[in-house]
Assembly symmetry: C2
Homo-oligomer: 263 residues x 2
């Protein structure tokens, strides 16, 4: 991931030092679906393909079974053109609805996902159960994972975990982008999400739960804390929520039956 | 601000305690301008009026001189109806453009603001100059300011500072909402922004700089770090950027001429 060096002044009372810091890149990615411009995401300039596909998937415009055509990414101009057999009426309907959310990284999650949750049509399945000590240990591993975060303090990370450990780690300047990249990865890899846990460094707000619901992972673990609306949605769909996962302890907020507390 | 109590399990290896935590609320606010539904923001349910007005201002749909008509807020249903004399062509043009950004709290900042910056039409004025020790002290004050954040770890805060201290502090589940609330406050209070510094707990990404540019505050200070695009924009408009303001030190990243390093 790109970082840029900047000369700055480090200031304490009575003492000023000139110093060099590393700053994370931020760059636009314009996403078009079947030649239709949908959105410009601000991101770190990495994994454009995953980000574009995962964004479209999380917005409900692509499904796992959707036949993809050409996916053209131009890294220089920051453009992703995705061709896919999609329901053009859905595209029109969704494109007209905007929900600006709490997301670092991006903001639009669309009502029909929320509607599906409210209508009880989304229900998390899977008998994934993870030992508490494994989760805490993975929290420690993930906390030290990103060199870019260590250098810039400007990124959020997200990961998919199976029973053995991290299977995919992505980061970006926003927590939403990182989750979208995982969704894009999962679309291509076709791993069974019911066997995976989702980890994020960001706070668990409602749209993060909706993304987890789209992904189909039965457990979400976060370094940070949840909102109440997120927990209401998670409760409704049967998602296990673990928060404050900081490498030595955690809070099991919902769904402890998926966590082996003795393990 | 609303918090909700939740019973959870606090887990350390070999030890599980049942405990009660407080979780921050998250609730939708639908904003209509002249009966036109523009957006649904997810927020903490506080200061709906400021949030709606500040959002519209930061989106470029309201100006300081815009004549406001009726502003009706329904706290129960989460709706804000704003009547104002606006350029309907601009409303249509802006409404059609979506830029989803890195924002905790919300995401849409519109291109024409960015275009204005790029075209060199935005330039920060004002001879505000603050002593370093004052900034560091205010960072300490602001770090302890939010009871809700202390309880829930689920909010971002933002403030406007004059030479004497904090003149307005707002918080929300997203850093963008908090900044929009300040903009809404400033619209009503009509303080001169050239005499104020803007503080945020969140990272300084490009759209945060664009919000600062809209506000017209010559200094932005953040508890967190910037992105490179944010710094490029800030440099272009002559905005002073102070980061990592954590109560005992800070980094003056851009525009040290507005900081009295000896003071």
């Amino acid at each position: 991931m790109g970082t840029v060096r900047r000369r700055i002044l480090e200031c304490r009372p009575g003492r000023v030092d000139e110093k060099e810091i590393q700053v994370v890149r931020e760059t636009p990615l314009t996403v078009r679906l079947n030649s239709r411009e949908l959105v410009t995401l601000l991101c770190d300039g990495e994994n454009f393909r995953e980000l574009a596909l995962g964004f479209l998937y999380n917005e409900g415009l692509l499904e796992r079974e959707t036949a993809l055509g050409r996916v053209a990414v131009n890294e220089k101009t920051g453009e992703a053109d995705v061709e896919a057999k999609v329901d053009e009426r859905l595209l029109t309907a969704i494109h007209g609805k905007r929900l600006v959310t709490t997301g670092c990284g991006k903001g639009s999650v669309f009502y029909h996902v929320l509607d599906s949750v409210k209508a009880g049509r989304v229900q998390i399945a899977g008998d994934l159960r993870l030992p508490l000590s494994f989760l805490i240990e993975q929290g420690r591993v993930l906390a030290g994972r990103s060199e870019t975060h260590r250098q810039t303090r400007g990124t959020h990370g997200a990961a998919l975990l199976d029973r053995a450990g991290v299977v995919c780690f992505r980061e970006d300047i926003g927590r939403h982008n990182a989750l979208d990249k995982l969704a894009g990865w999962l679309l291509t890899e076709r791993r069974d999400p019911a066997e995976l846990a989702l980890y994020t460094t960001g706070r668990v707000t409602s749209e993060v739960v909706l993304k987890a619901a789209r992904l189909g992972t039965p457990i979400i673990a976060s370094r940070a804390m949840p909102t109440e609306l997120a927990l209401q949605l998670a409760e409704q769909i049967g998602l296990t929520v673990v928060c404050a996962l900081r490498g030595s302890s955690c809070l099991v907020v919902l769904g402890p039956e998926r966590i082996d507390l003795e393990g």
